[in-house]
């Protein structure tokens, strides 16, 4: 899995940071960087969230 960070300018002039995840096999997920970081926190410390 590879990731790429892209900053875009929205139509209202604001900017947004995105992360594009390359899962391999030509499959991708694009999400807000903040959401990606929250997901990573779960993966890094699963017990904190009750994941066993």
């Amino acid at each position: 899995m590879n990731t790429q960070i892209i900053t875009t300018t929205n139509l209202d002039g604001t900017t947004t940071d995105h992360v594009i995840i390359d899962w391999g096999n030509n499959q991708f997920t694009s999400m807000l960087k903040a959401d990606y970081e929250a997901q990573q926190a779960v993966q890094a410390n699963p017990a904190q969230y009750g994941v066993r």
């Binding site: 995105h18 991708f28 694009s30 999400m31 807000l32 779960v42 009750g50 994941v51 066993r52």
Partner: protein, 325 residues
């Protein structure tokens, strides 16, 4: 009084017969494992598997099961461990719009369970005082039960819970109540969350398959090409020679503004200039809402300000939007 209210207030309390296939009594979405928009096999903790179900464990696969199923149900979730010491679970958050009615009430959570190791099942219900709390958010356990299962057939297991009056979001955690052996499997389907203290026969939250699909699409929608260049419900224009601005309308209004987009093998067609492959898709947060998304895709060689339509290159190409909880 509606049929659903009658079911929860009279028939359940008296243990009377309940008509099957009744929409509105089950508040667990995709309890019958009918909908698998993201695929049919997943691995590891912290990923969505069948629609609405979140994986709880590492060293575990979560797969669609079509053979080992109870009579009258098409699919189950087969959870298989690849090491020892794992009691695998799946999770689902019940959003506030559906959970609020259970505040201060008794609810029953039930499902069909089967295990190759004949370990107990786990039925656990958590609550949160946060509105629409994410499935990975902070929750307090209301309780847990570990009824027995067998390896020779499905057992309908159930437990009752008193939901606190300040509960705004509920989280279902179900699965194995004890560690499986390495390679052991646990099967789950027919999950039902209902008002009252009696586990009634399973029926889909949405009643019909189409109803269940629509419920799931409110949280996640994936459009699949299904053809050499199948239409993916989007159109737009070439903003520059390398930037395509595309809008997609969802089939149902989504729960919230989607926070992520999944995609594979997307292309846009300009009727005058041909097909262009898209990469680096990014949602436009200032336009995307609960009825449709706008996103930018990177390509090269387009003519500026041409009309484009969104297609998939190959039958398995897709685009998906997630507003899951």
């Amino acid at each position: 009084m509606s049929r659903a209210q009658l079911t929860s207030t009279v028939e359940q309390n008296t243990g009377g017969a309940v008509a099957p296939f009744l929409a509105g009594k089950n508040f667990c979405i995709n309890g019958g494992m009918d909908i698998w928009q993201r695929g049919t096999s997943f691995s590891g903790a912290g990923v969505y598997t069948s629609d609405r179900w979140y994986s709880g464990n590492a060293n575990t696969t979560y797969a669609q099961e079509t053979s080992v199923v109870p009579t009258g149900i098409r699919y189950a979730m087969k959870i298989t461990t690849s090491t020892t010491g794992v009691a695998p679970t799946i999770w689902q958050a019940v959003e506030t719009a559906n959970a609020i009615q259970f505040a201060g009430q008794t609810v029953t959570l039930s499902f069909y369970a089967r295990s190759t190791d004949a370990v107990a099942a786990l039925i656990r219900l958590d609550y949160s005082t946060t509105s629409d709390n994410a499935v990975t958010g902070s929750y307090t356990s209301i309780g847990a039960s570990t009824p027995a299962t067998t390896s020779t057939g499905y057992t309908r297991v159930s437990a009752q819970f008193a939901v606190p009056s300040n509960a705004l979001t509920l989280r279902l955690i179900i699965g194995a109540g004890a560690n499986l052996s390495n390679g052991g499997s646990f099967y789950i389907t027919g999950i039902q969350l209902e008002a009252g203290s009696v586990a009634t026969p399973f029926s889909r939250a949405g009643g019909t398959f189409q109803g269940e699909l629509a419920l799931c699409q409110r949280y996640y929608w994936r459009g699949i090409s299904g053809a050499s260049y199948g239409f993916l419900n989007g159109a737009g224009f070439s903003y520059t020679s390398s930037n395509a601005q595309i809008s997609v309308t969802y089939p149902v209004t989504m729960r919230a503004i989607p926070s992520s987009v999944d995609y594979s093998s997307l292309v846009v067609q300009d009727s005058a200039a041909g097909i262009f492959s898209l990469s680096s898709i990014t949602l436009d947060a200032s336009v995307t809402n609960t009825i449709g998304a706008s996103f930018a895709g990177t390509t090269s060689g387009m003519t500026t300000n041409r009309f484009l339509r969104l297609l998939g290159s190959g039958s398995t190409a897709y685009i998906g939007f997630s507003a899951d909880l």
